[in-house]
Amino acid sequence: MNIRRMIGKTDLDVLIRDLISAGKRVIAPVRCGDSQHEALEYAPVRSPAEIHWAGPLPLRSLKEIIFPPTETLFGWKQVKSSVEIEANPNGFRETVIIGARPCDAAAFEIVDRVMGWDYRDDLWFGRRQATTILTVACPHGDESCFCPAVGLSPESARGADWFLTPADGGFEAAILTQKGEALLEPYKAQWPEPNNFSKQQLSGLESKVRANLKVQPESIRQWLEKHFDDPLWKHVALRCHGCGACAFVCPACHCFDIVDEPEGIDRGRRRRNWDACQPALFTLHGSGHNPRKDQAARFRQRIMHKFNYYPARFGEVLCTGCGRCVRVCAAGMDLIAILAEIGRRSEEAGAAS
C-alpha cells in the first residue's frame, strides 16, 4: 500500500470534527490538567483545538487506550448456591488516535506478540481492531530518548495506520494499512497527493537521540543470558524504591493482576488491573516466601524480561526507547546508563573471548 496525501491543517481539523460528531473516541496529546508543569498526556479530545502537536513526550504512553489500567472482565451474582455471570456488556468503542508518537505506536505491535501467543487476549485485540493510529513524526527528543538503540527512530512508522510528517503548514500522510485506508476513504478524492519535493527535512533529532545510547540489543541479550547472578544487579538496584512507576508509564510493559471486587455480599466484578514487577508484592507467595527476595532480584527481572526473555521468545526487545522510565524515576534509576554499562561489559567480554 502506498497511498500518500497532503493534508492541510484545516483538512485535518475537519477530519477530527467528523470523527467526533460520528461518535468516535478521538485520543490526542493535550495539556495535562491541574499541573504546574508543561506536560502533555494522551486524552480524549472534544475539539481539534485541544491537540498539542509539538512539545515533550506525553507523560503516560498510549498503552492505556488498548489496555486500560483497570477493566471489568465480567460481573457475577450469586443466587443461593449458583453463580450467574454477566459478561462485560461494553463493546469496543471505535477509537482514532491522532498524533501518536512513534515509540508509543510501535509498542502495540511488539506487545501483540505476547497477547496473541499461547492465549489470544480478546480484550487486547478487540480494542486493537477498533483503534486506528495516526502517528506523527517525533517532534521532540531529549537526553532520555534512545529509540535508535532498540531499532526504531523518531520517524518510525511501525504500528501506525497513518504516518504524518509535517509539511507546508500541514502534514504529508502515508496511509499504511487497510484500516488507514478506510479512514481516508471519505476524503480520498478531496485531498491531493503530495509533491515529492515538499517533504520537510526533519531536524537532526535522530542523530541527537542516537548519541544517547549506542548498544546492540543482541549484545545486551548475550551478556544478560550469562549474568543472572552478576554483582551488578545488587549495585544498580540500591537506589530503586520498588515502585511501579517505570512499568506503569512504559508503553511495552503489560503485566496485570486479576482481582475479584465485591460490590455487595452476593455480587461483584472480576477486574484486570495493571501490575508491575518492581513492588515486592508482585511475586509474594501466600506462604510469605518471596522468590524475588530483594530489589536487586526484582530489578534484574525487569531488565531480563525486556532484553533477554522477550527477545529470546519473540525475537525483539520489549522496549521502544521512549525513555519514560528514565524521566519518571524519582530515585534516578537510569536505564540508558545501565544498558550502556551492560553493553560495555558485553563488548569487553566479546573482545576477551
Binding site: 537526553e143 515502585c243 506503569f248 493482576d257 527476595k293 530483594d294 534516578g332 540508558i336
Partner: protein, 290 residues
Amino acid sequence: MQELRDLARRLLRENQVNVILGYECARRGVRPAFITEAADCDRLVFDHRCVHNLAAYLSPRRTHVRALGRPAVVIKACDARAVAGLIRESQIEREETVLIGVRCGGVVLDPADSSPLSSGNIAPRCSACDQREPALFDHLVGEPKGAPAGEASRDARLSEIEAMNPEERLGLWIGLLGRCTRCHACRQICPMCFCERCIADKTQPAWIETSPHSRGNFAWHLTRALHLAGRCVDCGECERACPARIPLGLLSRKAARSVASRYGYVVTDDPAIPTPIGSFQFDDGQEFIA
C-alpha cells in the same frame, strides 16, 4: 563540599559506618549515592539539586540497603523530620545511624535541572521553609545558607479548594484521583510509609480496592492521608514520584493543617514528641460530635 567528603571518608575509614547515603552526580543531574569505600567519597556532592529525601532508604524494609551495614545519611532539615519519625516509630535506632546534617538554602523540584535556584524551579515546599539546618544531627556541614526564593504562600491552593462547594471539590478530586494508576510510587518513596504489608495490599479483607478506579483511589489516598496525619514530613517526595503528577501533597497538607489547627501539632525533627494520632487531650475539640 570538601567538608562533607572529608567527614564521609573519616567515618568510613574509622569504621564508624559501613555506608554513606548521600548524593552524587550522574548522567541526568544528581541522584542518591551509596558509598562504601573511602576512596569513592569524592563522588559525594551536595547542592540545590539534592531534592531526594534519603531517609526513605533507612527504613528496615530496604533490605538491600540495610545489608550494606551501618549507615551515615546526609539529611537536610526536612529529611531530618523523617529520620525523627523513623526513630519515633521504632523503625531505626538513633545510635545505629550517623546523621550528617547539611545546611540547605532550598532545592529544585527536578534533580536533572542544573539551572540556578529560582522562584521558577524551586521545590514548592522550600519557598515556605524557614529551617536552614536540622536540629537532629551528629555532624553538621556546609556554609550557612540564605532563605530561598519564592513566595511563602504555597498553601493558597489548599485554601482555594477549601473555599469551593462540596460538588466542586468532589469533581476536582474525581478528576485528579481518576488519573491515579495505583503504581504506589507515592507510598514506595515515602519515608513514613514503611509498613511491612500496606493496608492497600491486604486482601483479606480488601478494605481498599486495588483497582485504579476513582472509588478505589479515593479509599487509598484518603486512608494514606489519614495515616500520614501528624506524621507526614512534607518532603514532597510523593508528588515528585507520581507519574500521573497528581498534587498529592494537597491531601497530606490538609491533614497537617487539620492536626495543626485542632491539636496545635506540627511535625518536627524531635523524636521525643509523640504523634497526634495516638495521643489525646481530655478536652480535644469535638464540635462535630452530637
